[in-house]
Structures are given as structure tokens and as C-alpha cells.
Symmetry: C2
């Protein structure tokens, strides 16, 4: 009998935590302070949404979980580096993350800068050092995909667009362009790397690519809705932060009802992309549901 | 007849400049400001010492220059990212580099942060997207080597040790440990990636590895000597900067005469490592000479 979703999720999260801990250099290895700060920044927090996507897609593609684990770590390390750099004073200037002081507050700015830089390198180590695919040429393609998703045409580029957008009126198209880069590119990579560890027909890969794109945007819209609703209801720590920083969001552009409507449409599109896979896509469908419900 | 060294060097430098320009996204491609800042940070300056090493080693290993070009770009992009981040206010706080304002001065800190991040991703794109070796598994090894050389066990780790060393008394061993990471790791990678694009026997690769290690340290000692001598002679713009920042150097630990002696010893070691190659190693020997003489 297949495992219930919450159990599966908890198991993957624990597995990813262990794998990240093994992958990160020990805190007593020189330079110790840098390594301790890297471990501080990555371990013991986060929902590991991207690794969950990688594992769910890997399962669908019949991939060996031992291979998927390396890909999942690589994606999470890129995500973790981006959080450390985004929190820096010259960026979002955040002092708390996941209930603890951000890396530059706990250590110092220079260390946080080097932590982010080193985590990015480590992500590429993770995906280059292990065997992820039977064909090494396919593994090179996976690596190129991750590098592109992380760079100026992907996540880092999305950050740049985000910075430029503060205080600006954006159209829905411009907002979407920003999020496709900032959040979408790495979520898409998480999905496609899981697929790359296994075997899929080109049409199946394309369907998953579409699922990944929809899920990336869906993730952001739900974020925006939660942020605005928490603002008007209970005042959570980071609630209403986007509005306070004068950042354009799906809610500020569309309003809450239309943002909800768009989230539902994207969710249907994401589910439709999974239909051809039947029960093989069960985990991905459950994950997609959880991203909307945010019940983790 | 073989080309004279200055001509060869000028040709490779121009070739690398063109290749980097092709590899960097166009400045009119969104996000335009980020892409313009990336081009500003990489193009039109620098001696391209690392790419020169990659090309010279590639030539020795009989590699196709078209392949070597990708490896050389990857190494130079890692170097360029490290300069942009090192110049940031939380690190060395430098306002001028290569005769023009540093990236965070010309643009802003957040953009400089994202430029460095994006250049690192681009380096891995450069080495993953093209065919560098007949065997893709060997190319994966080359990629893993670059990732390790860039990360916390390499260049970024060396930066962390450097930061911690300001105002400290270091032993010669500690200073060497720092430079083996900070400068040495990437120079060694430049040499080994050039070798990886061609074919070498394991013993030959090992000899080049030794050459790379010696050259990395040599490069740093010459830097320290030049810095201290410029200080007591003509006051160049960045001359005497290490002493002013109270950074330990080979000169501050050994004094000028013993630093010179150590440079000569390393140079002999580097040359000895090349002896088994005979005339095939001509370019590398010439480069090693130029690194000491700094006549470029």
C-alpha cells in the first residue's frame, strides 16, 4: 500500500536534511566559521518544497531515489544561497528567517556573502560529483539547466527585476515575467531535474515542464494572497511586508478575488498537465494541492 | 615557425575577450541593467592570466582551442565574480579596479551582488553547455574540479581565511594555507581544465598539477613583493594597501630578501615540473616567467 502523503513528505524532508548535512563541510573543518555559517544557513529549517518536487517527479520517472537525492540537494543549495543573499542589507535587509536571525545578523555581512557564494559552488559540486543519469551527457544537460535557472536569465535575473520594481506600477505581464524568473525558474528546474534522473518520453517531459511552470506561478500567487490576508487578519511577523515595501504583487494588481481565481486556474492547468500520467503522478498532484493549501 | 610569446599572449587575450563578450548576455536583453553591469564587470580589462594558463596547458595537451576557450571563459568568469564581490563595502571596500569605478560604485551594491552571483552561474553554464572533452564523464569531473576550486574548500574559503587574518600574526604555514585556497585553487583549476580538454598520461597530469600549485603561490608572492616595493618607491594607487590594511603578506612575514628567495625557489620548482614535457611546455614556461617578471 502506498504511504499517506504526510508520511511521505516527512520522510523526504528528513532524508533531504540528512543528505544536506552530509554534503555540507563539517563545522570543524577550516575555514570553520564559514563552514559553521553555511550549516547554520541551510540546516534545520524550510519546507524543502523544491526537493519534494524533485523527489515526486523522480518517482514518476522511475528514478533511483539515491540519484534524485543529489539533484534535490543541488536545487535546495541554490535556493538556500539565494535566501542568504536576499536577506543582506543591500537587498531586502531582513533580520529574521525561519524564526532565527538571518546569516549576516548571526555572523556578519562578509561571512553571509561568502556563505551564499560557497553554497552556489556546492550546489554544482553536488550535481557534478555523483552519478545522476546513465548517460553522462544527459547529466551535463541537467547541470546546464540548473546553471541557467540560477543565473541572470533565471533566479538572479528575477531578483534584479524585483529590485527595479519596488515602488513601480507593473502590468500583470511584467509581474508574471518577474516571477517566472525569480521563483519559477528554480521550481521548474526542481521538477525537470527529478525527471532527468529517470526516463521519460519527450512528450512526458514537456508535460512536466508545463506542470513546473504553472506550479512556480501558483506558488507565488498563493504567497501573495497569504501575505495580504495575514495583513488584514492576524498580524504575523512578515505579514503585509510586500505592501509595506511598496512591492507589486498579484493582490495589488488583481485584487484578492481575481488573484484567487487565477490561482484556481493555474491549479487546474497544473493538474491537467499531470492527467496523462494517471496514478504515477499521485505525489506531484498531492504536492500541488499542498502548495495551494499551505498546510505544511 | 612558432609565434613569439607577446604575440601569442595578445592573440589569446583578444580571443578570450571576444569569447566572454559572446558568452555574456547582451545589455539590451532583460534584465538590462544587470546584464550591462555583468558586461561592465568582465569586459575590457584584466590580464586574463588564468585563461592564458588554460590555453597554454591546452596547447601542451594537444587540445582543440575551441574547447579550451569554453574552459578558459569559465575560469575567468569565476575570477571576475570574485573580484566584484571582494570589492563590496562589506569585504575590501574598493572603489577603483583596473582604472575604473568598481561595479557597486558604478551601479549599486545590490546589482554588484547579483552580478557576482550571476557570473558564477554563467561560469558553470559555460563549462556545461559546450563539449569540452570526448568523454562527457571527464567533462563532469572538470566541472566538479571547478566547483570545488571556487567554493569553501577553495577560493571562497581562502577569502574567509583572509578576512579572519586581518590584524593577526600568521605563521608562514598559515599564510600559505590561505593563499593555496584564495588564489592557488583557481590557478590550479585553470591549468587542470586546460589539460582536461586534451589528452595526457596520469603522470603528466600530476606534473602539471604540481606546476599549477607552484605557480599559484608564486603569483601571490610576486604580488606581495610588488605591493611592498611600490610602496617604498613610487606611490602607485593601490601600492602598500596590504600594509595599510594590516594584512599579513609574504613580505611582512619573511622580509623582502627571503620573499625573493622563496619566489626563485618556487619558480625553479615550477620549471622543473615542466621539464619532462620538453618544448611542448614552452608557452607555460614563458607564462611562468612573465608572472614573475610582470612585464604585461
Amino acid at each position: 500500500m502506498t504511504q499517506a502523503f504526510p508520511n511521505w513528505m516527512a520522510e523526504i524532508q528528513a532524508r533531504v536534511e540528512r543528505a544536506l548535512s552530509r554534503r555540507l563541510p563539517a563545522a570543524d573543518l577550516a575555514p570553520c566559521r564559514l563552514h559553521a555559517a553555511m550549516r547554520y544557513s541551510v540546516l534545520g529549517g524550510g519546507k524543502r518544497v523544491r526537493p519534494l518536487l524533485t523527489f515526486a517527479t523522480g518517482e514518476l520517472a522511475g528514478a533511483d531515489p539515491a540519484r534524485v537525492e543529489h539533484a534535490a540537494c543541488a536545487v535546495e543549495l541554490i535556493h538556500a544561497y539565494s535566501l542568504v543573499h536576499d536577506d543582506l542589507p543591500c537587498m531586502d535587509d531582513d533580520r529574521m528567517r525561519r524564526g532565527k536571525p538571518t546569516t549576516h545578523v548571526e555572523y556578519d555581512e562578509a561571512t553571509a556573502l561568502l556563505v551564499g557564494d560557497s553554497l552556489q559552488s556546492l550546489a554544482f559540486s553536488a550535481i557534478a560529483e555523483a552519478r545522476l543519469a546513465d548517460d553522462p551527457a544527459q547529466q551535463l544537460d541537467m547541470l546546464a539547466l540548473l546553471a541557467r535557472a540560477a543565473g541572470s536569465r533565471g533566479m538572479a535575473g528575477g531578483q534584479a527585476i524585483d529590485l527595479a520594481a519596488v515602488g513601480q506600477q507593473l502590468t500583470l505581464e511584467e509581474l508574471e515575467f518577474m516571477h517566472i524568473h525569480k521563483t519559477g525558474a528554480l521550481i521548474r528546474a526542481a521538477v525537470l531535474l527529478g525527471a532527468g534522473c529517470g526516463k521519460l518520453a519527450p512528450a512526458e517531459r514537456e508535460a512536466l515542464d508545463h506542470f513546473g511552470k504553472c506550479t512556480g506561478l501558483l506558488f507565488q500567487i498563493v504567497d501573495d494572497i497569504l501575505d495580504s490576508e495575514a495583513d488584514s487578519a492576524t498580524l504575523g511577523k512578515t505579514a503585509g511586508k510586500d505592501a509595506a515595501q511598496n512591492k507589486p504583487t498579484y493582490v495589488s494588481i488583481l485584487g484578492v478575488p481575481r488573484a484567487h481565481e487565477m490561482a484556481n486556474q493555474l491549479r487546474s492547468q497544473a493538474q491537467a498537465a499531470l492527467d496523462p500520467f494517471g496514478p504515477r503522478a499521485r505525489r506531484l498532484a498531492e504536492l500541488s494541492h499542498f502548495i495551494v493549501a499551505r498546510q505544511f
